[in-house]
């Protein structure tokens, strides 16, 4: 019996094939299609010989992507589809019959509530209250679904629902149970007609004749039926196993029908049942605590299999030609096959998606096809190979049963008896001896290993122009070894188009790679790179070889070492030597060395506009030795600058000539130029070939000393310093002089003239 259905004949599916199956493989991949977008489960898939021509089709009930998209494409021949409380029968592609579950009698209290509602002024509140009382009296679950919805729903819903009830016969809600599972039983060994066993939400199991569509018998197990399994013939003898949602399995036999005898409860499981299947007179029950329990048909627990993954589904595997009857267990990505005692096969799927359901049966003209449905809605078809044998698979995953072990007991010889006697007499001593030997063995092994790792093979380069250092390490104890070959070039030019070739005896060794193409061998460069900005070109980045970068850095920090080996790859500078160098340098200035704390950070950015390329080094002020000094200097200069600016502004008031140009950036220049009223026809530009770092420090220091001295010597008096800057013939001077005039505000004449050799751009320092 099948439910919602669409037909997937093999002809319609897109398919891929993998390579030939391995000789020992038990399954071959026939078709696979990830794009079918089926939303279904194992209950809604079945195999049917739709045209009775021996070509068996797979019928899939597609639940659609949402509630209202249920597809119903039916092939020919009789198909039953259980939906809600109705069993639809399709014959030759056309709806044929509709079997409805008989309505259950309404609860008396519920019925009374409705009668009262219709007769007594349509008070919804009263109705709800009465229905609630009815629910308390009996059970909420036993009420009709409409009444349930009215109790639970909002006011608007209630009105709609009541309108629905008003349309019904006798203006009463109908209490119908929902079908939960369907199975079929043959009527008799000769008969072609099936009896349908329908499990319902209210615990009913109804046996329906599929010719006349009459209920033959009904049994109640008082709890929602979830799984139903059948065996035997209805008219002769049959067994129906039904499991409830609560995890109890009942056995219904012919003798239970129409009599007072209750169905037999054969097992109760502590966890939720995932699937139940029958194989080889065993009932296999998978629960969601990763266990499969085998029961015999009378409910005796036979065996329990623990798995390490969540079980997705079970399926019975029957292969008539070899009399195989086993159990297929679907996990997320694998399908295990168990027989009564042990694991016999593991099938891994190669799909992108996880397994959602599996179904085994005859498909097309193949009698053993396994259909795997994936979560993404695809299906995979695997066919059991004719030559496959299940018996010879060794136990890999599951431990063998204890009684299957054949213990290797030695014969009771004289020697054996002596030995056992000795073991019994002095076990402590023997154990100590064993431990000592074990330790010695381990020691020897590690000694040998250490010897091997230190003994590198020496190599000689044949041509001096292509000097390549090669070092080979052999790791491992065999039979598999690991060869580690290190190549480093000592030549100034990069070596290209080289191969690493191994020449060896083919009968003695097997190498994973005998010929390895060697990438460009560049001696001067480092395998790592440093990514920095480019000086004077913002937005550009330079990728510098780390070795070159480190070389420049070393040069800058004065920590070059001459003992570097060409093949040695330097990853970082030696922090100790930098620290030592730094201490030496600071001491030479007579500054106390701070032993704690870090050194300032430094980085370099390449000056790509220079040839040869040099680096501009940038150091953070943080942690710098000179930082306190620079702070002081900054304060002084700021002070000077403030005075200077105020002075300039005051004289601008007198003669309207702006003498103060402190330029922060180009925008300010443009701004300033725009403010000039009488624009000259030409603007003169000047460049300075040498920058302030090239100024003779002595001169700068001298001038600054002078200024500071002047400023602070007579502290306490009221005076203001102003500084006037003039650029004199900038085209002449490599380093331009700045003349600083010092003058009192009350006296207009300058009293001191200081000349400081500075480029004009230096003015930004004062700002």
């Amino acid at each position: 019996m099948i439910y919602w259905s669409i037909s997937i004949s093999p002809m319609q599916s897109i398919f891929q094939m993998s390579l030939l199956p391995a000789p020992g493989a038990r399954w071959m991949s026939a078709l696979s299609d990830d794009e079918l977008r089926l939303n279904t489960n194992a209950n809604c898939v079945s195999f049917v010989d739709t045209q009775a021509d021996g070509d068996i089709k797979l019928i899939v009930a597609d639940l659609g992507t949402s509630r209202y998209e249920m597809k119903l494409k039916t092939p020919t021949n009789t198909i039953g589809v259980a939906a809600g409380s109705t069993l639809f029968i399709y014959k030759a592609l056309k709806p044929f019959y509709k079997y409805d579950l008989k309505p259950i009698e309404l609860l008396p209290a519920e019925q009374a509530a409705w009668i009262r509602y219709w007769s007594d002024g349509h008070h919804i509140d009263h109705l709800v209250r009465n229905l609630e009382m009815a629910a308390d009296e009996a059970s909420f679950a036993e009420m009709s679904t409409l009444s349930q919805a009215i109790v639970m729903g909002s006011d608007e819903d209630r009105e709609q629902l009541i309108a629905k009830v008003a349309n019904m016969k006798e203006r009463m809600p109908v209490n119908k149970s929902q079908m939960t599972c369907v199975a079929s039983i043959k009527r008799s060994p000769e008969s072609l007609v099936d009896v349908c066993a329908i499990g319902c939400e209210n615990g009913d199991i109804q046996f329906v004749d599929t010719q006349a569509f009459q209920m033959l018998a009904s049994v109640n197990i008082k709890s929602p039926v979830v799984f139903i399994l059948t065996t035997g013939h209805y008219d002769v003898d049959f067994k129906v196993f039904a499991s409830t949602r609560a995890g109890t399995i009942y056995l219904i036999q012919r003798e239970h029908l129409g009599k007072d005898r209750e169905p037999r409860k054969i097992a109760t499981l502590p966890k939720r049942i995932v699937a139940i299947k029958m194989f080889a007179k065993i009932l296999a029950v998978a629960t969601d605590d990763c266990k499969i329990t085998y029961y015999d048909f009378r409910g005796k627990r036979l065996k329990e299999i623990r798995t390490n993954q969540r079980i997705i589904g079970l399926e019975t595997f029957n292969y008539e030609p070899r009399q195989y009857s086993t159990l297929l267990v679907a996990f997320q990505r694998e399908i295990y096959m168990y027989n009564e005692n042990s694991l016999v096969d593991v099938l891994k799927i190669d799909s992108q998606s996880d397994i959602k359901w599996i179904k085994f049966g005859a498909f097309g003209r193949e009698e053993a096809a396994l259909i795997i449905g994936t979560k993404s809605g695809g299906i995979i078809v695997k066919l059991f190979r004719r030559t496959a044998q299940l018996t010879d698979m060794a136990e890999i995953h599951a431990p063998k049963l204890a009684h299957n072990y054949k213990l290797n007991i030695p014969r009771r010889t004289k020697l054996y008896q002596d030995q056992t006697q000795r073991e019994r007499d002095n076990p402590v001593h023997m154990h100590q001896m064993y431990q000592r030997d074990l330790f010695l063995l381990r020691w020897l092994v590690s000694q040998q290993f250490a010897l091997m790792t230190t003994k590198a093979l020496s190599t000689v380069s044949t041509s001096s122009s292509e000097a390549v250092d090669i070092s080979v390490d052999v790791n491992g104890f065999g039979p598999t070894f690991r060869l580690t070959v290190r190549l480093s070039s000592g030549t100034p030019t990069p070596l290209t188009d080289m191969w690493l070739s191994f020449i060896y005896k083919k009968e003695s060794f097997k190498l994973s790679d005998a010929l390895i193409p060697v990438a460009l061998l560049t001696p001067q460069l480092h395998r790592d790179f440093v990514v920095t900005m480019v000086d004077k070109a913002s937005g550009n980045y330079a990728i510098t070889c780390k070795k070159l970068y480190l070389q420049f850095m070393e040069k800058e920090l004065n920590t070059q070492s001459n003992d570097g080996k060409t093949y040695e790859i330097k990853d970082q500078l030696d922090p100790v030597s930098i620290k030592l160098n730094h201490e030496k340098f600071t001491r030479s200035f007579g500054i106390a060395v701070q032993t704690e704390g870090n050194l300032p950070k430094i980085y370099g950015i390449p000056k790509m506009h220079k040839n040869p390329i040099k680096f501009r080094f940038i150091t953070g002020a943080h942690d710098s030795t000179l930082k306190p000094l620079s702070i002081e200097l900054q304060k002084i200069l700021r002070f000077l600058h403030g005075h200077f600016r105020r002075y300039c502004y005051s004289i601008t008031g007198h003669n309207k000539i702006n003498r103060f140009f402190s330029i922060q950036n180009t925008f300010r220049v443009v701004q300033q130029l725009n403010t000039v009223k009488n624009k000259r026809s030409e603007i003169f530009c000047a460049d300075f070939s040498s920058l302030f770092t090239n100024l003779p420090h002595n001169v700068v220091k001298e001038k600054l000393y002078y200024l500071i001295d002047l400023m602070f010597k007579n502290a306490g008096h009221f005076y203001t310093y102003t500084i006037l800057v003039e650029a004199i013939s900038p085209e002449k001077g490599l380093s331009s002089d700045i003349k600083i005039y010092l003058c009192r505000k009350d006296r207009r004449n300058p009293i001191v003239t200081a000349i400081i050799t500075m480029p004009l751009s230096e003015m930004s320092l004062l700002d």
């Binding site: 002809m11 026939a30 078709l31 498909f363 009698e367 190979r385 004719r386």
Partner: protein
């Protein structure tokens, strides 16, 4: 070729006779193909699924064939092995409409070729039922059977239809030619 042999070949007296084994899955159309290859007066009107095997004789150009028509049903497939040793040619029939079982056909084909009794005899693969609209193109069948992996034996794949006889004469010609070559190579 001497005068007598030319003469005898004209009269069909000195025709060589050879054995071929016809295999393939059930419902591939082996018996129907052999029925179509027979002379018109010996044809049967109704082809039923073969049980076990039947022997059919027909003649090609210069060769008389005795074809062992093996049943393709799963339970009879293990009988195939017994006939490889004396076969001078293999005819493998595939149902080109049965996509599902092409993998089975491939499995069976390679099982034949890997069999110890199977000599380097010519292999003719017939992609049958080409008259049906849902049949696969011959190239695809070839790919799916993994024929590109086959070396060291003469083989060909031919699209046929046992119902209307398409492709059958050409197949027979190829088989006759290659079997003659094979037998000459064997004898010399």
């Amino acid at each position: 070729m001497g005068f007598f042999s030319t003469l005898s070949s004209i009269f069909g007296v000195g025709k060589k006779s050879c054995n071929i084994v016809v295999v393939g899955l059930d419902n591939a159309g082996k018996s129907t193909i052999l029925n179509a290859l027979r002379s018109e007066d010996t044809r049967v009107s109704q082809v039923v699924p073969t049980v076990g095997m039947t022997v059919t004789t027909f003649s090609g150009t210069g060769v008389n064939f005795s074809a062992f028509d093996m049943s393709g049903q799963g339970k009879y497939r293990n009988l195939w092995d017994a006939y490889y040793a004396k076969a001078e040619g293999i005819m493998f029939v595939v149902d080109s409409t049965d996509r599902l079982r092409l993998s089975v056909a491939r499995d069976e084909l390679w099982m034949i070729l890997d069999h110890k009794d199977c000599k380097k005899v010519p292999l003719l693969i017939l992609s049958n039922k080409s008259d049906r609209p849902d049949s696969l193109p011959v190239g695809e069948v070839s790919n799916l059977l993994g024929l590109d992996l086959m070396r060291n034996r003469p083989w060909t794949i031919q699209q046929t239809s046992a119902i209307n006889g398409n492709g059958l004469p050409h197949s027979l010609e190829w088989l006759s030619k290659n079997i003659k070559e094979y037998m000459n190579g064997e004898s010399s």
